[in-house]
C-alpha cells in the first residue's frame, strides 16, 4: 500500500513532459490533418473539416509519392550498404586483441558521427562543388556531384559517412560482450575462422543488428538537414525527401492540415517498416 504512489512520483516529471511534447502534439496533428484549406469567393482561405481528404490527396500527390520513392531507394541501397560495411569493420576489429591500431581505427571511424547532420551537409556540399572538390582537383574532371542524376547518391554518401562508424561501434561492442568461452568451445571443435564468423558471431550479432537497422530505418524516414542545407549550393528538388517536401509545403502555403497529414503518413510508414522488419527477423530466429 505504502508504495502505491511512489512510482507515480518518480514518473511525474517524465510523464508531464512526455504528454506535453509527444502525446499532445501527435493528437493535435491527427486533429489538424482532418481540416482542409478552402477558398470561397474572394475571401481568404478558411480551414474547414474535410475528413480524410488530406490523406486521399497525399496518395494522389505525385511530388509526395516521388519523395517516398526516394526514401524507398535509400532503404533498399543506402541502409544495407551502411550496415554491411559497419558489420564488416566491427568483425575485423573484433578479430584481434585490442591494441593501439585497433583503438585508433575505432576512434577514426567514430569521428564523423560527432559532426551534426547540418554541418556534414555543409562540408560535403563544399566538397561536392565542381570547382572545389578535391576529387575533381586530383582527376582533372568537372564532376557535378549535385546534378540531378547523382544527387540522391551524394546525399546517401553524406548519411553513410556520418552513421557507419556509429553503427559499427554498436555492433563492435555487442561482439565484445559475447562471452569468450563460446569461441573457445568452437575452436576446440575445430571451427575455422570463417565458420566462427558465419555460425557464431553473426547469429550473436542479430539483436544488435536489428537495433541498428531499426534506428537506420527511423533515421532514413526523417532525412531533412542534409538535403536542406544543400539547397542553396545546387539544384535540389523540394521533394527530394518527404520531410523537405512537407516542410517547404507548409512554409510556403501555410497548409498545416496537409502538412500534418503527411507527417502522420510518415509516422505510420515508419511504424510499418520497423515492425515488418522486426517480424521478419523474429521469424528467422524461430
Amino acid at each position: 500500500m505504502r508504495y502505491r504512489t511512489t512510482p507515480w512520483l518518480f514518473l511525474t516529471p517524465f510523464l508531464l513532459a512526455f504528454t506535453a511534447f509527444f502525446i499532445a502534439p501527435v493528437g493535435y496533428a491527427v486533429y489538424l490533418s482532418l481540416f482542409i484549406k478552402k477558398r470561397s469567393g474572394f475571401g481568404p482561405a478558411q480551414n474547414v473539416f474535410g475528413g480524410l481528404e488530406n490523406y486521399l490527396r497525399a496518395f494522389q500527390d505525385t511530388a509526395f509519392l516521388q519523395s517516398l520513392g526516394n526514401i524507398l531507394l535509400f532503404l533498399a541501397i543506402q541502409v544495407p550498404i551502411m550496415l554491411i560495411v559497419a558489420t564488416a569493420m566491427a568483425l575485423i576489429l573484433d578479430s584481434v586483441k585490442s591494441g593501439s591500431a585497433q583503438k585508433f581505427f575505432r576512434t577514426a571511424f567514430y569521428l564523423p558521427y560527432t559532426v551534426p547532420g547540418v554541418i556534414a551537409g555543409l562540408l560535403w556540399g563544399y566538397l561536392y562543388s565542381k570547382n572545389l572538390s578535391p576529387l575533381n582537383q586530383i582527376t582533372g574532371l568537372k564532376t557535378d556531384f549535385l546534378s540531378s542524376s547523382i544527387l540522391l547518391f551524394s546525399i546517401g554518401n553524406i548519411v553513410t559517412w556520418t552513421w557507419t562508424g556509429y553503427n559499427m561501434i554498436t555492433l563492435y561492442a555487442a561482439l565484445q560482450n559475447v562471452p569468450g568461452d563460446i569461441y573457445e568451445a568452437a575452436r576446440i571443435d575445430g571451427a575455422s575462422n570463417w565458420n566462427l564468423t558465419r555460425y557464431i558471431k553473426l547469429p550473436l550479432l542479430r539483436p544488435a543488428l536489428t537495433l541498428t537497422a531499426i534506428f537506420s530505418i527511423i533515421g532514413t524516414m526523417q532525412i531533412f538537414s542534409e538535403p536542406f542545407v544543400l539547397r542553396p549550393l545546387g539544384y535540389v528538388p523540394d521533394n527530394i525527401t518527404p520531410n523537405t517536401y512537407l516542410y517547404l509545403a507548409v512554409a510556403r502555403d501555410g497548409n498545416f492540415g496537409y502538412g500534418a497529414a503527411l507527417a502522420i503518413i510518415m509516422a505510420l510508414f515508419t511504424l510499418i517498416f520497423s515492425s515488418f522488419f522486426l517480424r521478419n527477423v523474429r521469424g528467422e530466429t524461430a
Binding site: 512510482p7 512526455f18 547540418v118 575452436r187 539483436p207 509516422a267
Partner: protein, 304 residues
C-alpha cells in the same frame, strides 16, 4: 603486414598472460589492413579538408589544392571574422548551443532516470502498456512532432523564446528505456528492500543508494541527449526565427545561405572554421567519456 620487429615486444608481454579466448590473433591480415585503411581514409578525409580549409582565405579556397595548406595562412583572419561578423553573433550561437544541449542533457537524464526507476522497481496499474507506448514513440518522426509543437507554442506565446527549443528536448523515450535496463541490471531489488527495512526513505534510496550504481547509464543518456540537442536543426528551424536565439547548426546554415545568395563577400572558409568549432565539444565529450558510452549503448542491444 607489420614487421616482426614491431610485433616482438607484444608477443613477449602476452606470452605470460593467458590467451583471451576467441580473439587469438595478434595483428590484422594484409586484406584487413587494406579494408580498415580505406574506410579510415573515407572517414577522416573530409575532416582533414576542414583543417586545411580553415586556414585559407576565400580566394585561396578556389586557387589552391583542397587537401593541403597554403601560405600565407589566413587562419588568424578567419578566427577574427568568425567571432566579429554580425556583431559577434557566432559566440552567441555557441553559447545558445551549450545552453540548449546542456539543459537537455541534464533534464532528460534526470527524467529518464526517475521514470526508468519507476518501471524497473515498481509494479503499478497500467505500467506495462504505458511502457510500451513510450517505447513506440521512438518511431514518431521529429517532423511529425515539430509541426504541431510549433502551433501549440504559438498559442501559448512561446515561439521565439529559449523555452521553445529547450522544453521539447527534455523528453527522451529511448533514454527512459535505456535507464530501465540499467536499473534492472545495476540496482538489485533486494538491496532496495534491505534499505527500506533499515528505514531509508524512498527518495534517499533513489538519490543516494541507487543513482551511483547506474552512473554508466546516466552518462550514456546525458551524452546522447546532449548530442541530440546539439545536432538538432529541425526544431529550432521551426520554432525560432530570431537570429539571437539560433543554435550553431541553424546559424551556420543561414550564413551559408546568405554567402551563396548574396554572391559578394562569401565566407565559406570562415563557415568551415565555424563548423570545426561546432564539432570540437562533441569530439572532446566522446573521447573523454568513451568508456561509458561504448559499453552503455549495447546493454540495450543485448538485453532488449
Amino acid at each position: 603486414m607489420t614487421t616482426t620487429n614491431l610485433d616482438q615486444p607484444q608477443t613477449v608481454k602476452t606470452a605470460q598472460a593467458p590467451r583471451p579466448p576467441g580473439r587469438p590473433r595478434q595483428g590484422f591480415s594484409p586484406l584487413q589492413w587494406a579494408a580498415l585503411s580505406l574506410f579510415c581514409i573515407y572517414s577522416l578525409l573530409p575532416l582533414w579538408w576542414v583543417l586545411t580549409t580553415m586556414t585559407k582565405s576565400n580566394g585561396q579556397l578556389y586557387s589552391t589544392f583542397g587537401l593541403w595548406f597554403t601560405s600565407p595562412s589566413n587562419f588568424a583572419e578567419n578566427v577574427q571574422i568568425l567571432f566579429t561578423r554580425d556583431n559577434g553573433i557566432f559566440l552567441r550561437w555557441l553559447l545558445n548551443s551549450i545552453l540548449y544541449a546542456g539543459v537537455s542533457a541534464v533534464g532528460s537524464m534526470l527524467f529518464a532516470a526517475m521514470g526508468g526507476y519507476a518501471f524497473s522497481k515498481f509494479r503499478f496499474r497500467g505500467s506495462g502498456p504505458m511502457f510500451n507506448i513510450i517505447l513506440a514513440t521512438i518511431m514518431v518522426p521529429s517532423t511529425a512532432l515539430a509541426l504541431p509543437i510549433f502551433l501549440l507554442m504559438q498559442k501559448i506565446g512561446l515561439i521565439n523564446t529559449y523555452w521553445a527549443v529547450i522544453l521539447p528536448s527534455l523528453v527522451n523515450p529511448f533514454g527512459l528505456y535505456l535507464m530501465r535496463l540499467f536499473w534492472d541490471a545495476g540496482f538489485p531489488t533486494d538491496l532496495m528492500e534491505a534499505a527500506r527495512i533499515d528505514g531509508a526513505s524512498e527518495s534517499k534510496i533513489f538519490w543516494q543508494l541507487g543513482l551511483p550504481l547506474v552512473r554508466g547509464g546516466l552518462v550514456t543518456v546525458a551524452l546522447f541527449s546532449f548530442v541530440g540537442a546539439w545536432n538538432n536543426f529541425f526544431l529550432p528551424l521551426v520554432v525560432v526565427n530570431r537570429d539571437t536565439l539560433f543554435p550553431l547548426t541553424l546559424g551556420l546554415s543561414v550564413w551559408n545561405q546568405t554567402s551563396v545568395s548574396s554572391g559578394q563577400d562569401p565566407i565559406y572558409t570562415v563557415i568551415v572554421l565555424g563548423a570545426l568549432v561546432s564539432i570540437l565539444p562533441l569530439i572532446i565529450a566522446f573521447l573523454s567519456l568513451g568508456r561509458y558510452w561504448q559499453g552503455g549503448l549495447t546493454s540495450g542491444a543485448t538485453k532488449g
